[in-house]
């Protein structure tokens, strides 16, 4: 029997947060209002997405203090504590791409990741930079004009309309197109959080003595390039692209993986 602890915890967190956002509109709750672009926690703590904020700034508007402070709080949280946890613990698109990925495995569409010439995992960083440039050219937050993340989130809060097609498109792309296509190759928001969260203290740690090299962790990992130490070295996963989703810990039958606090003195 496989352990589903972190998977369930993540789903509860994701759905719980989405419900709080939904309830802010539907029932007027003041726990978590707004959307990722800018939110209010408990009615007074401002939160804002750092990449969205950067886009608006590069589009040339001096944003209100609430957004700037909010973006700073979010940046600090993921920088110090969470790493790229936004992607796997908060973002609703994660549920869509996880489902696509799971189906992909069940349907045995491919086991290995195809190495596309121009669709590499680093493409997302280019898109991230490009998004800022396009924002500056066009004068609006460019990624926000088509972001499936906030389209899905607003869909949940205010109703989807035709926006559902974007979510379906991501699902189909990840299922039949590129493995981990959206979250692992294209999403500039994930790229931004990868950079922000590089040095965070919560990390997955590998114990290579216990590892039996079953490679289950590499099969489920959506960013499996970060697991290069499996069965080789007992170190932490320090790559910023690790989303701290904990799937590898769940599927490990040998107790060779677990969350730990980054050792501040040495980590290579």
């Amino acid at each position: 029997m496989k352990n589903l602890k972190y998977l369930l915890l993540r789903r509860v967190t994701q759905i719980g947060l989405m419900f709080l956002y939904f309830a802010a509109n539907a029932y007027g709750w003041h726990i978590l209002e707004g959307t990722f672009g800018s939110s209010k926690l408990f009615g007074f703590i401002p939160l804002a997405d750092p990449y969205t904020t950067l886009q608006a700034l590069s589009a040339g508007f001096v944003l209100g203090a609430d957004v700037l402070v909010g973006a700073l709080l979010i940046t600090l949280f993921y920088m110090i504590v969470g790493g790229r946890a936004f992607c796997s613990w908060v973002c609703p698109i994660n549920m869509v791409t996880d489902l696509a990925n799971w189906l992909r495995r069940k349907l045995k569409l491919d086991k290995e990741e195809v190495n596309y010439r121009f669709l590499k995992r680093r493409t997302r960083y280019w898109i991230m930079v490009l998004g800022l440039i396009v924002s500056a050219i066009v004068g609006i937050a460019a990624f926000e004009a088509l972001s499936p993340i906030t389209i899905m989130q607003r869909g949940i809060i205010f109703g989807f309309g035709a926006g559902i097609s974007v979510v379906v498109a991501i699902f189909l792309f990840d299922l039949f197109g590129v493995k981990n296509g959206w979250c692992g190759h294209l999403c500039p928001l994930g790229a931004a959080y990868s950079i922000i969260g590089q040095k965070s203290i919560i990390r997955v740690e590998h114990n290579h003595e216990a590892c039996t090299a079953c490679m289950e962790c590499k099969i489920v990992c959506p960013e499996n390039q970060v697991l290069h130490m499996i069965n080789k070295k007992s170190i932490s996963v320090t790559d910023g692209e690790c989303t701290n989703c904990g799937r590898c810990i769940d599927v490990c039958n040998d107790d060779a993986l677990g969350f730990s606090i980054r050792k501040l003195n040495k980590d290579s």
């Binding site: 460019a142 205010f158 974007v166």
Partner: protein, 276 residues
């Protein structure tokens, strides 16, 4: 040697291709964004910055829409919640996705005294300062969401029928919308009660449009930049002190009164056919 040459060539080719693809992506993306923001006939919440700036400033959080729908006054008589005025643009709405707007014929703006939608805006896209009156209090009457326009040919009051639905619906009754009494020469014994909108007071809330009885409203709200002309600084009301002040502030060298047409003499204008 040949190997390193090959490597260099490969590197150059890859770099060139990457740059090219990035440029392609950038152009497509810019093109999409430029089209996506081109939705000029959209009504924004009170205090919204001019459209161009608003699209830049709005962070698409939806706090305004949430404040609008959950305001105290937004209840039916039986206590159930009503639909809010402010909608968040979805795919298929043909407005920049995620931005707030309203459609008067569905739910107009009820011009709440406390303006719940504006102070919650975190980015400044809804500008509180633009809604402050002389006493530095929030004043919804300062809002300029749009301007109502009457289409005389479809307004039954202009036919001579008795209707004052829009006039009575107006929250600034007798200020933003007045009735102009005129004699109906056709019957010789009836009056026209003609609705007239005053652009200096109308906030564009759309209650008139919602109230209008015609199949398609004969009075409707458009964004102000699309519903107003501009006389320009070279036309001055010589009998109006205020307008003379406006004229006094103008910079003479910035006023251009000469154009292609004015190069001809006035008699040309009168006696010969002129092409515009």
């Amino acid at each position: 040697m040949a190997n390193s040459d090959n490597n260099r060539r490969k590197f150059m080719a890859t770099t060139l291709q990457s740059v090219g693809l990035t440029a392609l992506g950038g152009m497509l993306w810019s093109g999409y964004c430029d089209e996506a923001k081109a939705s000029p006939l959209v009504l924004r919440p009170p205090g919204a910055l001019p459209e161009e700036q608003f699209l830049d400033a709005c962070i698409k959080c939806g706090l305004c829409a949430e404040a609008c729908v959950n305001r105290e006054s937004n209840k039916n008589r039986d206590g159930t919640q009503r639909e809010g005025t402010i909608k968040m643009a979805k795919g298929g709405d043909h407005r920049l996705i995620g931005t707030p707007y309203f459609i008067p014929t569905e739910v107009p703006c009820y011009m709440c005294d406390d303006i719940p939608c504006v102070p919650v805006c975190p980015s400044g896209a809804l500008d509180m300062k633009s809604l402050l009156n002389e006493k530095k209090e929030l004043d919804i009457n300062k809002a300029e969401m749009g301007l109502a326009i009457v289409h005389k040919e479809s307004c039954v009051a202009y036919w001579g029928l008795q209707c004052d639905a829009c006039y009575r619906a107006c929250p600034l009754l007798d200020e933003a919308l007045t009735l102009d009494y005129q004699k109906n020469e056709r019957t010789g014994k009836h009056a026209f009660l003609l609705p007239v909108v005053h652009s200096d007071i109308c906030t564009g809330c759309g209650l008139c449009e919602k109230a209008c009885i015609t199949e398609k409203p004969a009075i409707f709200v458009l964004p102000r930049e699309h519903s107003m002309g501009k006389a320009g600084d070279h036309y001055v009301k010589g009998w109006d002190k205020k307008d003379q002040q406006r004229a006094g502030n103008r910079k003479l060298d910035e006023i251009e009164t000469h154009d292609e047409r004015s190069q001809k003499t006035p008699s040309d204008y009168l006696n010969r056919e002129i092409e515009y």
